[in-house]
């Protein structure tokens, strides 16, 4: 695949641990998480711990230079900030966008405004003004196009919605388009804001931890929801060379498989996760022993983490590569998590460190692999200086939509 090797020439990120890569890197290296009690989302569940981006919509609009009366949803604001950073780094101009595709993953889309105005839409409130603009911003595609249009005129745009693996699958489609020679530049990733809708949805499933989440820990009790956005600029190596673009990393493999087990739970054997990781490795032509770090999906729910560990054991045997879940930093940023964590991996590769797994105290036992210590990367084990070349980044979703990508430097 060397003819169409896919390189990454730009990236942008926003999450609870920072707006932009500089703040993000600092938080990751210092082990400072962004999960805190609800402050921005309007909800009765004020007891919830969440990974909010610490800005109001108005503050983000001011940063973006968008007039305050423009109807825009929070998912799109997060996306615009991340996209702007990614494009700036890549050096792509507005003119280049006509030849560039934009693939966005989201599920919440404009739900933050729909839930605010739903009874007005239905005429069930006394409000005389129906905020029609927010009907048009409801669906996933509308969020995507608001983000895209802020940057300019992309040659094509589309949206993927596979719940919590949406952004990873957006990156996979982008990569596939470049491999097929359909285009040589794709901006791919995802954006998702917190909404009352899915906070309550996860709450009904009883998988929210009221404390800061403890992924990969024996005492884990659920996830914290988070929000954010991130994009990678994917490019054929030939195109990057032609432009003289700086290469941040290489996307050398990807895998997508379906667990086909349950709509909201993972199989005990982690079949989908196993297949996705195996495909990514095989596509990259690598052995399990070549992997230097795994950024786990690791939500912190009782169900996900042992299933993912089992999948890792099936692929890597008893001795796992260094692994961690970064959800303790950001909360679970759902549809955006695949690209946010891909940017974390890129930062780790660029700066040669291992992101730590926050809030860890004791490992999860896997009775089929009793020899394995199942210890994630934690502070104090020289995580801050660790040579790494190849990392796997996992993103799994409801419906068993499991994906994994392999990044290299």
């Amino acid at each position: 695949m060397s003819a169409n090797r896919i390189v990454i020439t730009g990236s942008g990120v926003i999450s609870a641990i920072g707006a932009g890569k500089e703040e993000t890197l600092q938080s990751l290296q210092q082990g400072v998480g962004g999960v805190a009690p609800v402050r921005y989302l309007q909800t009765d569940h004020t007891e919830c711990m969440v990974g909010e981006v610490k800005m109001t919509n108005r503050e983000m609009m001011a940063r973006l230079g968008i007039p305050s009366d423009v109807p825009v949803v929070r998912t799109s604001l997060l996306g615009m900030l991340a996209l702007r950073e990614a494009l700036q780094e890549s050096g792509l101009s507005r003119e280049d966008l006509a030849e560039t595709a934009f693939i966005n993953g989201t599920t919440v889309g404009g739900m933050d405004k729909s839930e605010q105005f739903y009874l007005d839409f239905l005429g069930e409130t006394a409000s005389s003004e129906v905020p029609v603009a927010y009907i048009k911003t409801h669906d996933c595609g509308a969020s995507t196009d608001m983000i895209a249009d802020y940057a300019g005129r992309f040659g094509m745009t589309t949206s993927i919605s596979t719940a919590c693996s949406s952004a990873a699958n957006a990156i996979i489609l982008g990569a596939r388009m470049i491999l097929a020679g359909e285009c040589d530049k794709v901006v791919a990733g995802g954006a998702e804001c917190l909404s009352k809708f899915h906070l309550n949805g996860f709450n009904t499933l009883m998988i929210l931890d009221q404390q800061p989440c403890r992924p990969m820990d024996a005492g884990r009790a659920g996830l914290n929801l988070g929000e954010g956005a991130a994009y990678l600029v994917l490019e054929s190596e030939a195109s990057a060379q032609k432009r003289g673009a700086k290469v941040l990393g290489v996307l050398s493999g990807f895998g997508n498989a379906c667990d086909a087990f349950h709509q909201t739970a993972s199989s005990p054997e982690g079949e989908g996760a196993f297949l996705a990781m195996r495909q990514a490795l095989s596509m990259a032509g690598l052995q399990p022993s070549d992997v230097d770090y795994i950024n786990c999906h690791g939500t912190g729910t009782p169900n996900n983490d042992p299933s993912e560990l089992r999948a890792m054991h099936r692929l890597f045997g008893n001795v796992l590569p260094p692994f961690s879940s970064t959800k303790g930093f950001t909360g679970h940023t759902t549809s955006a998590s695949g690209s946010i964590e891909a940017v974390f991996c890129l930062l780790a590769l660029q700066h040669q460190f291992l992101p730590v797994n926050l809030n860890f105290s004791s490992p999860i036992a896997d009775e089929e692999h009793p020899e394995s210590d199942n210890m994630p990367v934690t502070a104090g084990n020289q995580a801050l200086r660790h040579p790494i070349r190849r990392v796997l980044c996992n993103a799994f979703g409801f419906g068993g939509n499991d994906s994994s990508i392999l990044l290299e430097v």
């Binding site: 839930e115 996933c140 005129r153 949206s159 719940a163 489609l173 596939r176 499933l205 379906c258 419906g399």
Partner: protein, 329 residues
């Protein structure tokens, strides 16, 4: 794009026409109401009554058209499942949303939330067919289905997979219809109806022997964003359109929608006969999936040699899909 030839091996629909059959084509039902629900088939051959009670209509229909399409192909499971939907299981989303808005955040139930994510549809088909293969869901307004088709096309062309079950699924509820009316997407004197879509098609590269010959060939898919006339021209040029071509176009009777089509038909497809297929199926986010199905049937039955499916959304999303008759070689 070089690569393998892709065939539409089978396709089925549930819509406002007679479901799961071809007979509707002889004498399509005409609708004068601004909004109509699909005609549901007997679901018993596809889903047990107990399971069915827990599923919304979008899910049940998706399962029926998917399983029927696989049965037509003599398959228990496809290699991959790729789904397009503008709204996912809209009934479940609305039920959860309304409950939350009216009754607050304390006593909500999980079932509607679990079925509300867009990928519930494709995942249900995977669970039912135990398909661990590639699975993805696209949700991009009017080109949700074409996006799914595009992904399938790339994978089949590259020889990564032997067959893909692609689907386009959307329900239209009375409440959502009202919202679309408020936004002036539909209604308001529109000379056409709103419908619902459930369509599944099996695409293959002739990876095995199938009980029936394919309906047609899928010869190209292009997705576009706010294309200029120049970009339209180069997209169509890249498809190498055959001379004998019918355009299946997405006019729905709403002036703001139809004017988008008129401009493009005039500028780049002038003189090609056009069939506005939404007069049969009505409008919804994945109405073009039904257009795709009807176009494949048109070719199979000899009503057209080749069809170009043209989709243009009002906010600039656009797609073209080229279906060709089977070459006699």
């Amino acid at each position: 794009m070089e690569g393998k030839k892709i065939f539409v091996q089978a396709a089925n629909q549930i819509s406002i026409q007679k479901p799961l059959c071809r007979e509707w084509m002889e004498n399509p039902i005409a609708y004068s109401e601004p909004f109509s629900r699909s005609i549901d088939p007997d679901f018993k051959p596809y889903v047990s009554p107990v399971e069915g009670r827990r599923m919304g209509k979008v899910l049940k229909r998706a399962l029926a058209v998917s399983l029927q399409t696989l049965r037509d192909c003599g398959l228990d499971q496809p290699d991959a499942i790729i789904t397009g939907t503008g709204l996912g299981s809209v009934e479940s989303t609305e039920a959860f949303l309304l409950d939350m808005c009216q009754n607050g955040e304390q006593l909500l139930k999980p079932t509607h939330f679990m079925q509300s994510t867009h990928n519930t549809i494709g995942s249900l088909v995977a669970i039912q067919t135990r398909c661990h293969g590639y699975n993805a869901t696209y949700s991009h307004k009017q080109i949700s289905f074409e996006s799914a088709l595009y992904d399938a096309y790339l994978q089949l062309k590259a020889g990564e997979t032997g067959n893909v079950l692609v689907g386009g699924h959307d329900g239209t509820t009375p409440d959502y219809f009202r919202l679309l009316e408020l936004a002036d997407y539909v209604g308001n004197g529109m000379n056409g109806t709103c419908g619902e879509a459930a369509m599944a098609a099996l695409l293959s590269v002739g990876d095995r022997s199938y009980p029936n010959p394919p309906l047609c060939e899928l010869a190209g898919v292009k997705l576009l964003n706010r294309p200029t006339i120049g970009q339209w021209k180069s997209a169509l040029d890249s498809l190498s359109l055959p001379d004998d071509l019918v355009v299946f176009s997405g006019e729905n009777g709403h002036p703001l929608n139809d004017s988008c089509y008129a401009a493009v038909l005039q500028a780049v497809l002038h003189g090609r006969p056009a069939v506005p297929y939404k007069r049969w199926f009505g409008e919804c986010f994945t109405a073009s999936a039904l257009g795709f199905y009807a176009a494949a049937e048109y070719i199979r039955s000899g009503k057209a040699k080749n069809v170009l499916l043209l989709t243009i959304g009002r906010s600039g999303e656009a797609a073209v899909v080229l279906l060709k008759g089977l070459s006699v070689d």
